[in-house]
Subunit: 341 residues, 2 copies
Amino acid sequence: MNISQLAEHLGLAVSTVSRVLSGNAEKYRISNQTADRIREAAVLHQVVPDPLGTSLRKGKSGMIGLLVPDITNPFFAHLARAIELHLRKSRIAVQLCDSAEDPETEMELLENLLQRRLDGMILAPVGVESESLARCLEGSPMPIILMDRIVSGVALPSVSLDHFAAGKLAATTLLQSGHSHLGCLRGSPQSSADQGRLAGVEEAVREWKSPAHLTVKGSGYSLEKSLSEAQALLSCNPRPTAILTLTGQGTLGILNRANDLQIRIPEELSLLAFDEQPWSRLVSPPLATISQPIEKMATRATELLIEALEKGKKQPPPQQILYDAELQLRKSVAHFSADAD
Amino acid sequence: MNISQLAEHLGLAVSTVSRVLSGNAEKYRISNQTADRIREAAVLHQVVPDPLGTSLRKGKSGMIGLLVPDITNPFFAHLARAIELHLRKSRIAVQLCDSAEDPETEMELLENLLQRRLDGMILAPVGVESESLARCLEGSPMPIILMDRIVSGVALPSVSLDHFAAGKLAATTLLQSGHSHLGCLRGSPQSSADQGRLAGVEEAVREWKSPAHLTVKGSGYSLEKSLSEAQALLSCNPRPTAILTLTGQGTLGILNRANDLQIRIPEELSLLAFDEQPWSRLVSPPLATISQPIEKMATRATELLIEALEKGKKQPPPQQILYDAELQLRKSVAHFSADAD
DNA sequence: TACCCATGAACAAACGTTTGCGCGAATCGA
DNA sequence: TCGATTCGCGCAAACGTTTGTTCATGGGTA
């Protein structure tokens, strides 16, 4: 039963029912008597204004798109959950899309989402530079908030970790523990997040008070790739005394290979990992991590989006909002003593 | 620009443009000349039929709801990803909802989804019995496919692991390795999945050729709970020589506490865990797991749903579709030798 | 020439809302 | 008692499609 049928049933006009059911009873001066009658009948017959009709009339779908590279990645899963929760409070639904870290899929999904005339969208891009992607985003008719990674050449508001500062913090932490040869396992060289983190690491090493050396390995997010790159990094001669991993998979790769090679952590190798995982503090030794304030970032992004929606779907100013990483110092990072090597 | 503006621009009727753009040109015998002219203009002006209008007219939103207890749980994340991928091929979008393992939130979300007049929905219930939940599902106007867990008292089609058989397989595996005292760390006693698994375990123990003993601990999915329950299980006297964990958190709990107590795996304790995780084969020793054929289940569930959608949104017959678990036997399970205890 | 039929496209109703406007009735001040 | 205001609600248009029906045109046959 829809509201016009309910109106007929009650002998009232559709407009009256609509006004009451959409909470505008007093605004249009519907008498309490009539309003209550409508409300009662509505709950009795389980009548709710059809969102399709509402959307069409209002020109809003009440839905935003969330496009992530990999919902299977705990970081994005947490992000998605927080975003959905926040938007729910504003009665906005979330359409989920997973681009599987593939730029082409991402492009298709993006076009699809734009066609669907959603109210807005939160996008965590795969991170590969693409002219067509940039053009597609540039001319978007809806507000778009970028998360985690940015798209070069596009002026869009973004919410992310201060990757540069985080990388610097991580490297400095290891340097301060006495390590002078750092290893770094990166993810994709394409990703702006990785680029930022690595740049931070490099600057920390460059600015360190005494000479320090940095070995960088890795490319890609797959587990197989991470394993072989971890192997490569651990086989360096001389081997780094401390390793920083920029991705979750990379961390698993190092943990696994170090175990195979019987390298003791932290006695022979210190390990600091990006992204806190559920098991980080449970493995042995507990893993020191650089964690992201996921909740805060999700909150900020949704606030930005909601604000844009209320201001008539206009794009908010292209500010870059950065958050500081949090260092969880645990036993996997130890002070370097020369006799171990 | 919408199709009516495009029609006006071309000096044609809206209906003609609509027929061409929705791919029904020849069905309504639009001349190739006209059709091509429309198509060209459409790509030029980036005109696509507005899904809102289409939805309203057709009475379909082209969108289904996916309600999971915790998208942060890798199992559900994988499920969500596979489901979204499959439905995308049929041009169906997915609205994501996360109930945070909370029955009340689940109930609210469910009502919300039902109101949104989606085309259908895939539901992985929290698993707590609830009269109102059952009633809500029973009278649903859209097809609903249950996943992973079932809701007692409701005749809905479901796709899930054969939890009972999986539990039996797991327990039998441990018994066959010579263990006669099994420990089991469960999740929530409310969950039909856990109930099934545990029942399978109990039957395996009961039917085993020689006397065997089973100690069951655990309740809830939180990490803290899992840690304390793991502690309790490992502190039993006598301690089980093999432990089966029914949840991911439980596995982490056992791994952590075993490490604290300096219990060597598998020499002093065999461990078999439900649900394959990205790190399962990477920890030391590699973890034996009972894995679920997530892809297959997701495929089947979406097939069921799509079929129902094509048959006019009617509920498919309430069949229960079960899949067999797959045993990944790894080094964390060892043959029991009496001298170790 | 008159008729029929196939062709190609327009007309209009319907999907379910929201909302500016208007209208009759009741209330009020003078 | 009368004009002016307020109150309570209905009317109708509009949002953007889809689709059954109609209509004009032209070619073919009788």
